[in-house]
């Protein structure tokens, strides 16, 4: 028995694959920014907030971390309309990705915040900085720096997880791979090409985050912005 593979039939549709990869990157970029912001807010709430808020954040984090992403996505996309919230597939995907990343980022950032030496906070307070300034300019940047590799890995995991978003007709990479194979019946080849593209995207996103983090988020002296 011979297996004949025909990648040409798939690669001829490269504009579709490129468009899909573009949306995958776009979804990931939005989810990364909002998700990490949500994670920072949750980490702050969990270390400094009032007791009810802490409990609420802890519940959110545990609920997300102990359920599959696909179920969260289906809940947002199919479940919320019965509450009157009707969402486009791409919007539902971003919301699910942000909620998912936020919960994991909260735990990661919290670990970073807990590594802050007490003396730094005290020194900042003695300079009469407000609590917000102490947190945003003194505590947060080095904390992000400490956990940046873990955060970057989590962003990559969320990007890979976003392949599921094709199931609710979000037109990202896996969606187009599926579309291509439904036209030419080259299911294995289409999936293999898309998988290779995901691998390349994962490497690229990791590199990009390793570049962005030190330059924009925690590289300079706190407060020394252009």
């Amino acid at each position: 028995m011979t297996v004949r593979l025909d990648f040409g039939a798939v690669l001829v549709d490269w504009p579709l694959l490129a468009r899909g990869a573009g949306l995958t990157l776009g979804l990931t970029a939005v989810a990364a920014v909002l998700g990490v912001a949500l994670g920072v807010a949750c980490a702050r709430a969990r270390t400094h907030g009032p007791a009810p808020l802490r409990a609420a954040v802890a519940t959110y984090v545990e609920a997300i971390r102990n359920t599959p992403f696909i179920v969260q996505l289906f809940f947002v996309f199919f479940g919320l309309p019965s509450l009157g919230v009707r969402l486009e597939p791409a919007a539902a995907s971003v919301i699910a990705m942000v909620l998912n990343l936020g919960a994991y980022a909260a735990e990661i950032v919290r670990a970073g915040l807990e590594g802050t030496p007490r003396g730094q906070v005290e020194a900042a307070r003695s300079l009469a900085l407000s609590e917000a300034q102490v947190f945003l300019r003194v505590v947060l940047p080095p904390a992000l720096g400490r956990v940046w590799p873990a955060l970057a890995s989590q962003v990559v995991i969320v990007m890979l997880g976003s392949a599921v978003c094709g199931q609710i007709a979000t037109q990202e990479l896996s969606y187009y791979a599926n579309l291509i194979q439904s036209r030419n019946f080259r299911a294995f080849e289409a999936t293999l090409v898309a998988t290779a593209m995901y691998l390349a995207l994962a490497v690229a996103v990791r590199q990009a985050l390793a570049w962005v983090g030190p330059r924009w988020l925690f590289g300079r002296a706190p407060g020394a912005r252009r």
């Binding site: 969260q72 809940f75 896996s174 691998l199």
Partner: protein
């Protein structure tokens, strides 16, 4: 028109939950065995073997599990094997699990202080003796909490098997939604059941980690 009570929904989901549990167990055990083989190949093998294992791990960690499932499903069919969904899902999840466990366990072996290897060297133990009697047991202790923690990822990963048509918790949820038109209730119940499966495992992993830290 049949009316579905909440109990009807829950009962059917509970029945489907058995398949989620079974697939998780199969993938975890199978993945553990393959992962152990990979780990040994990486520790004991030559440079080419090490590079191959490392590439294997990176490919599985750098691509979506959903795509891996599709590849197993379409790939096995391409070889002329008539694949049922459970077989493709089991195979893909086993390979996925093995890559992660091999990597986790490698980290545990490396966490054992170098001096332990050297002390074992000075006792003229062979490589397998060092691994079995000196380094292995210590690595095992470090390895239990993250391994248990990874089980949560495996359980959640089985939800993707629904996409290739394996009827487990998520697929059952979709089917029940199509019959009842109550997606909010059904998916909330599905999420709750995953939570019931995963949360005790998460807690156990965290407790093990704490007791390990205290034991030092």
């Amino acid at each position: 028109m049949v009316d579905f009570t909440l109990w009807d929904i829950l009962r059917n989901l509970l029945l489907a939950m058995r398949w989620t549990a079974a697939l998780s167990a199969a993938a975890f055990v199978g993945g553990g065995l393959v992962g152990l083989a990979l780990l040994l190949a990486r520790v004991a093998g030559g440079r080419a073997t090490r590079a191959a294992v490392s590439a294997y791990v990176q490919v599985f960690q750098g691509t979506p599990l959903l795509m891996q499932l599709f590849l197993a499903y379409f790939g096995l069919a391409l070889l002329g094997v008539d694949v049922p969904a459970w077989l493709a899902a089991g195979a893909a999840l086993t390979l996925y699990t093995s890559a992660y466990l091999a990597e986790i366990w490698r980290g545990c072996l490396e966490a054992v202080p170098r001096g332990q290897w050297e002390a074992a060297d000075s006792l003229a133990l062979s490589f397998s003796e060092k691994l079995r009697h000196v380094v292995g047991p210590q690595a095992l202790r470090i390895g239990v909490p993250p391994t248990v923690g990874f089980l949560v990822q495996v359980i959640k990963g089985t939800a993707l098997a629904s996409v290739i048509g394996f009827i487990e918790l998520t697929k059952a949820g979709t089917m029940i939604t199509n019959a009842t038109f109550r997606p909010f209730t059904v998916y909330a119940c599905v999420a709750l059941m995953y939570f019931v499966l995963c949360w005790p495992v998460s807690l156990a992993s965290r407790r093990l980690e704490r007791s390990l830290r205290r034991g030092r």
